[in-house]
Amino acid sequence: MSPLTQTFDHYSQQKRQQQWKHLAILAILLLTLLLSIHSIIIEDTDWQRIGTLEQVLASIGRFAALDFSLIPHLGVPMLETFMMACLGTLLGLFFSLPVAWFGALNVTPSRRLLYPFSRFLMTLSRSIHEMVWALIFVAAVGLGALPGILAIAMRSVGFISKIIAEAIENIDPKPVEAIRAMGGNNFQVMYYGIIPQIKTLVIGTIIFEWDINIRRSAIMGLVGAGGLGLTFFRQMAMYNYGGVTVVILAILTLILLGEIASHYVRKAIN
């Protein structure tokens, strides 16, 4: 057998093995999916309560009867939601700066202690849902907008600091070398060598996070942390489904405005 046929056989055998492997993975995925549908949807749903299709449609229809009398009362909560997002993002940014500095491998003052600690904070901040943060802060500081702001700030730290830390790790080291060579101190290295390189990305990230935080602050009220979420919760508690829809529309308007604003600001800085 010539070496070439040998390689060919070897190759086609490998290929066949690979195909079997793909098939096996597909079968396992399919089986998992079927099992999940069976146990979660078919067995776990209270089919009696859903009733007929007409009843389902009628329930949904109740949301369509918009309650416009609510509109004059939406201004203040809307503003509160908006301010909550802004202040939460700013406070989050404030906390993010040291976390990012300690958590970027090339500038961290301590690779043994501060670096892993910062990385842990980044993960912690993101793995706890904003509603859970809100519940914690409502318990800690009481009802109102303040726990909402704190919750949003805590939830934002993870994302903002991770992006900044990674931007710092990916900078071009050459300008930094030049500033060190001319006798610049650590602050000057950071201010002239690092910050100009990451500025645009950081501003873009903050605006992106602010945009997301408008969404987050809109539901903060569900756990008592103020804003439109609280209005939503009250309408729901009064079974005023038309009012609920109006609140949802208000949230949608606010989010759209945020989206438009962030689009133009990001365009302006690029």
Binding site: D172, K174, P175, A181, M182, G183, N185, F187, Q188
Partner: protein, 250 residues
């Protein structure tokens, strides 16, 4: 009196098995344009970075005027670095800053932290920056961002920035390797002319032997971290060159 005296300099990177630089000694005098030549991997960049301690030497001494650079604590090292201008192969400018800010940043070593935070450079510094930009022929590009310039122009910004330091010694790390041959000669001519006018000695890494022979009065030949030649340019023979390049590290 000599400007720079390097004695028995040894450098080994952490974790490396052999020394990158093996007992290098040489002296730079006031009017020198000193070239360091050698194949890639010979240790040219390491040698030039040991002078201002961007790379820490393992042993040996570097003396600038009457100061032992190798023994300076961090603060004094920063103060001494102000007197050593450095020009880099890839210019090492801050791309997103203006040409003017890049040139002014050469004064950072002389500027307090809070003044540098507000970019408050003195009138004299601004005046000097404009003069230097005129000298390197970039006066009309003052407000452009550094990344809008061509390679040769960017290196001119690098030269102006180094001169902003009022250096007593210029270190050049392959200043022409990123430039095409014509621009490379222009840049070398500019550096030579400026160094002469301002009476600054130059120590220059360069892999282009023809340029080294044309612009430099002394040559140090490195091979695999060892000094193979040190002398006047005109005293260097073809055999000397062959010896420097005989075992090229690929």
């Amino acid at each position: 009196m000599s400007i720079l005296h390097v004695n028995q300099l040894v450098a080994r990177y952490p974790g490396a098995k052999t020394d990158t630089l093996k007992e290098i000694s040489f002296t730079v005098n006031p009017a020198d344009f000193y070239a360091i030549i050698g194949p890639s991997g010979a240790g040219k960049s390491t040698l030039i970075r040991c002078i201002n301690r961007l790379v820490e030497p393992t042993s040996g001494t570097v003396r600038l005027f009457d100061q032992q650079i190798t023994q300076l604590p961090p603060r004094q090292l920063r103060q001494t670095r102000r007197h050593i201008g450095m020009i880099f192969q890839e210019f090492n400018l801050v791309d997103r800053m203006s040409v003017m800010d890049n040139v002014l940043s050469g004064r950072l070593g002389y500027t307090s932290t809070w003044r540098s935070m507000l970019k408050l450079f003195s009138q004299a510094d601004i005046q000097r920056a404009l003069e230097l930009l005129e000298r390197v022929g970039l006066l009309e590009h003052v407000d452009k961002r550094a990344d809008q310039l061509s390679g040769g122009q960017r290196q001119r910004v690098g030269i102006a920035r180094a001169l902003m330091q009022d250096p007593q010694l210029l270190l050049l790390d392959e200043p022409t390797a990123s430039l095409d041959p014509k621009i490379a000669r222009d840049v070398m001519t500019l550096i030579q002319q400026t160094a002469r006018d301002l009476q600054i000695p130059v120590l220059c890494n360069i892999h282009d032997v023809a340029l080294a022979k044309e612009f430099c009065n002394r040559i140090l030949g490195l091979q695999d971290g060892r000094m193979m030649f040190d002398g006047e340019t005109h005293s260097m023979s073809q055999q000397d060159l062959d010896r420097i390049y005989e075992r090229e590290v690929l």
